[in-house]
């Protein structure tokens, strides 16, 4: 069978494996919703100020909350499949609309973070591996150790103290200067200016992670037989490092970038609430304070699905990148 159709079969198999995971996550979501004190009708009654028990009973009937649990679960599953995630009573909007409103800001932050972390992580790891056991290697290792141990929100706050309050280089919060009514390129520059601190904060942890991985991966590749062959052929060390070792060492780092997306979403909740970046993380933080459980569950569901999808995409990219991968 040609490789292309093998890959097609592999992809469809992986797609099928992803579906039960997503369904399981939806079911977990449903039970969490039921575990919480009070239902949507209690919330509505609370909002209205007063409601008679008869009226609440009527409302429960209307929302299907008087049905047995399995029936409710089936209805919930059906709703999620048509992307109906419920209603946020605080924002007076459908949850899915709220989420899609805020998604772009989070996507922007995450993309810039991944680019920064992967780019610099590869560079630093490469440097550490080439200057093994020198002071540069030691500095990079210590930097990685400290970054591992630092809470993200604290890094963010310290960044604000130093770079916003003390030096005045960057704005403290928000995504753009709304009062300035910038348009076109000015607006892009303004957003980029606001993006700098949140991106650096969020990428620090992953930078340390990729640096360590890249260093280990380079060292592993240096020990392989093909490097000995290349040396025997009389290639320069430079050529061996950049043409042969680097390419092979990159593969595991690429996979790791995909695996870390789940952690990145968690990190963005913290970073967005520190910098008031108006994305999904900030929305989750607001919904915590407003006790808006529907919204929080919607964000949770969407981010879980995002992780499943990204992992799938990385797997697929991976088998195109590395022809040795067995797709049987």
């Amino acid at each position: 069978m040609p490789r292309s159709s093998k890959i097609f079969r592999y992809v469809s198999k992986r797609l099928l494996q992803g579906i039960p995971i997503i369904i399981a996550i939806i079911v977990i979501n449903f039970f969490l919703l039921n575990l919480a004190e009070g239902d949507a009708v209690d919330v509505l009654a609370g909002e209205a100020g007063s409601a008679t028990p008869e009226y609440m009973e009527q409302l429960r009937k209307k929302f299907g909350l008087d049905q047995p649990l399995p029936v409710q679960l089936a209805v919930y599953l059906k709703n999620v499949l048509v992307l109906d995630l419920g209603y946020s009573f605080r924002h007076e909007m459908a949850v899915q609309d709220l989420i899609f409103d805020r998604f772009a800001a989070t996507a922007l932050l995450m993309t810039s973070t991944i680019i920064l972390a992967v780019g610099f992580g590869i560079l630093l790891g490469l440097m550490a591996a080439m200057r093994l056991n020198t002071w540069k290697d030691a500095v990079i290792t210590v930097f990685a150790l400290i970054t591992y141990a630092t809470p993200l929100f604290w890094v963010g706050l310290m960044m604000i103290v130093v770079f916003s309050l003390y030096l005045g280089w960057f704005p403290t919060s928000g995504m753009e200067n709304v009062a300035a009514f910038y348009e076109g390129w000015d607006r892009v520059v303004d957003i980029a200016h606001h993006l700098v601190l949140p991106t650096i904060t969020l990428s620090l942890f992953y930078l340390a992670l990729y640096t360590r991985m890249m260093r280990a991966s380079m060292l592993e590749q240096y020990g392989q037989d093909y490097v000995v062959t290349a040396r025997a052929k009389g290639l320069t060390e430079r050529r061996i490092t950049f043409v042969h070792v680097l390419r092979n060492a990159l593969l595991p780092v690429v996979t790791m970038a995909g695996v870390q997306v789940g952690a990145l979403i968690g990190g963005s909740v913290i970073v967005e609430s520190v910098f008031a970046w108006p994305g999904l993380g900030m929305l989750a933080f607001e919904s915590l304070f407003a006790r808006d459980l529907n919204l929080l569950l919607g964000i949770f569901l969407l981010s879980s699905i995002l992780v499943v999808v990204v992992n799938l995409v990385v797997d697929i990219i991976y088998c195109f990148l590395d022809p040795r991968i067995d797709v049987e």
């Binding site: 995971i21 969490l32 150790l145 630092t150 809470p151 706050l157 103290v161 952690a263 609430s273 933080f285």
Partner: protein
């Protein structure tokens, strides 16, 4: 034991980490001696800087002592980190041991469940669990344990898979030992060292998760913690940088020390791994 210590001591950074951890433990244990007042109590002028008005590390916007909060918060962090890790190791051993020992369908089912929990973004899941159960020490411990056990399960499963066909296990079967007894008394003790190593690193992660939750306002409202201090001080960042800065340094030092100890334990308990590198 003596041999273990000789190997551990070879990693200087790990010895340093142990020293730091003992200092923090001492600080947590003697918190009531040096700061007998409730750390939530208002004890002086608000927003005093470090070394001002008798405050070693300053006071916050309500006049609470930052230094007192840090020593009392040490107890919270260490306790939650330790208990949450123990609970998640317990869950992880349960899943991993059954999956690895019995294999087949049991393995498939348990590993599918593990995979689902590994896929879910852990920090948001923890937030959700605490928000639903209402913030308390109990709910925080449960939330951290629920999001951290899959790694242990995978590790234990691997160990059980490789050990279950060894001769000493077959000998146990021959003399008619029950499965449960073989699992608990024979195989489990043989995979304790990797569990100890992963456990020590998990304590560090648990402390970071706890501080993140407390920072977002999901800490136990009756107990002082470092994350709470930082969360409460962030609005005063412009006028009182010290309120956020010192508790953060406390988290950084504690987590760093525990990570160093974890690496030292790894060197001491898995010597073969070190030689291979």
């Amino acid at each position: 034991m003596a041999e273990f210590w000789t190997r551990y001591r070879r990693n200087r950074a790990a010895v340093l980490g142990l020293g730091i951890l003992f200092t923090i433990l001492f600080m947590a244990a003697t918190a009531h001696l040096f700061y007998p007042e409730d750390p939530f109590r208002l004890v002086g002028r608000p927003l005093s800087g470090p070394f001002e008005n008798g405050f070693l590390l300053g006071s916050d916007s309500l006049g609470r002592d930052v230094a007192s909060g840090i020593v009392h918060g040490a107890k919270t962090s260490l306790l939650i980190g330790l208990i949450a890790t123990l609970v998640s190791i317990f869950i992880g051993i349960f899943f991993g041991a059954f999956a690895g020992y019995f294999g087949g369908r049991v393995d498939d089912l348990l590993m599918r469940i593990t995979e689902i929990f590994q896929t879910i973004p852990s920090f948001i899941f923890a937030i959700l669990l605490v928000a639903i159960m209402k913030p308390s020490i109990f709910s925080i411990v449960i939330a951290i344990a629920v999001v951290s056990w899959p790694g242990v399960a995978r590790l234990v499963r691997g160990e059980f898979l490789s050990l279950k066909n060894r001769e000493f296990v077959q000998a146990c079967h021959t003399i008619g030992m029950s499965d449960l007894r073989v699992m608990l008394r024979e195989i489990l003790p043989n995979c304790l060292s990797p569990i100890i190593v992963i456990g020590s690193l998990m304590v560090a992660t648990a402390i970071l998760i706890e501080s993140g939750l407390a920072f977002l306002g999901l800490g136990d409202p009756n107990i002082m913690s470092w994350g709470f201090q930082i969360g409460a001080g962030r609005t005063m960042l412009r006028s009182a940088w010290w309120v956020c800065t010192f508790p953060g340094i406390a988290i950084l030092i504690t987590v760093l020390a525990i990570n160093l100890i974890g690496e030292g334990l790894n060197d001491a308990l898995n010597p073969r791994l070190k030689e291979r590198q």
